[in-house]
Symmetry: C2
Subunit: 186 residues, 2 copies
């Protein structure tokens, strides 16, 4: 057995915080297969795929208007840099994907900014990258917003964030419990 003293220094993993919103989410429940309860790990050599086909997409959107694969995310390192980046790629032939104001057609891809809003159809996703060190995997943490994201004022952070912390702008508190805003709070 490895003792505490001899154990390898624990690494933090980069985490992609994703806050979802759709105007019909209460009726159509397209997010019912997403796991909003806990962080999930994605191996660095895998793509995180979001879409309608649960056989291909770990992140499954239950909606006939969503493509079999809507978009994918990959993790990579910039050359001559230790910087870890995420790249988003539109995998839908039918629907444009917007990253802030940049329009992506089918098979177009772009680096995710540190904080951005991704839209396709009526879907809105606030994406926020929390830096980490691990090269083996990254994490995703999903949230559900009761209010439209595009109409929200984004809080511009004037102070740099403390290391390994993140403050999702839409959430007044962030604990270990499932992050779904209670109606009384929103």
């Amino acid at each position: 057995m490895t003792s505490f003293e001899e154990a390898e220094t624990e690494e933090t993993a980069a985490c992609l915080h994703m806050t979802f919103y759709h105007p019909c989410q209460d009726d159509k429940m397209m997010f019912r297969c997403l796991n909003f309860c806990k962080r999930e790990q994605v191996r660095a050599d895998e793509m995180a795929k979001f879409g309608r086909d649960p056989n291909i997409c770990h992140y499954n959107l239950v909606d006939t208007r969503v493509s079999r694969i809507q978009f994918s995310l990959q993790f990579y390192r910039k050359p001559n840099s230790s910087e870890l980046c995420f790249e988003i790629k539109n995998m839908s032939k039918k629907t444009k994907l917007f990253v802030d104001h940049v329009e992506l057609g089918y098979l177009n891809k772009i680096d995710l900014p540190w904080k951005c809003i991704v839209c396709f159809g009526d879907y809105q996703i606030l994406m926020e990258i929390q830096e980490g060190e691990s090269l083996d995997y990254f994490e995703t943490h999903l949230y559900l917003s009761k209010v439209p994201i595009l109409q929200e004022k984004c809080i511009r952070l004037v102070q740099p964030l403390p290391e390994n912390s993140i403050i999702p702008s839409l959430f007044p508190s962030q604990g270990k419990s499932p992050i779904e805003i209670d109606e009384n709070e929103s």
Copy 2:
């Protein structure tokens, strides 16, 4: 039944021609699981993975010195362009990957030039892109070289290629039969 006149116009697919060489290929037969006989199709939403683990890598290299996944290739479109590109990503923590003279560490990636030599360890791969139109899939066509690729003089093509044709520089003739140079020819 759709008649010939009504059928959709056939699309050509982009093809990546890859010529493999390893100094011990005759003894160690690391290429024995690669299919040198015919073109193979890769769906545009999939990564083409090359490496030791046949459960993950369709293109399987049978060699304990090769990483579980050595490198991957993805197909994408540049924004505001119809140009189709290939991107190569080094998936090996242990081995650097060289694309011509560019060194890629673990999780580094780069666009494949139209014609280039990819190296890792003692492996040499000449890669040549043949343009195509299809957005649904691309093709790979694998060849085996009996002679080192790095020491070969690359034939610079002065004339533009006829549409949908490619002349792999190492091969004097290219037919429908498996492309493996006879020792008398090389």
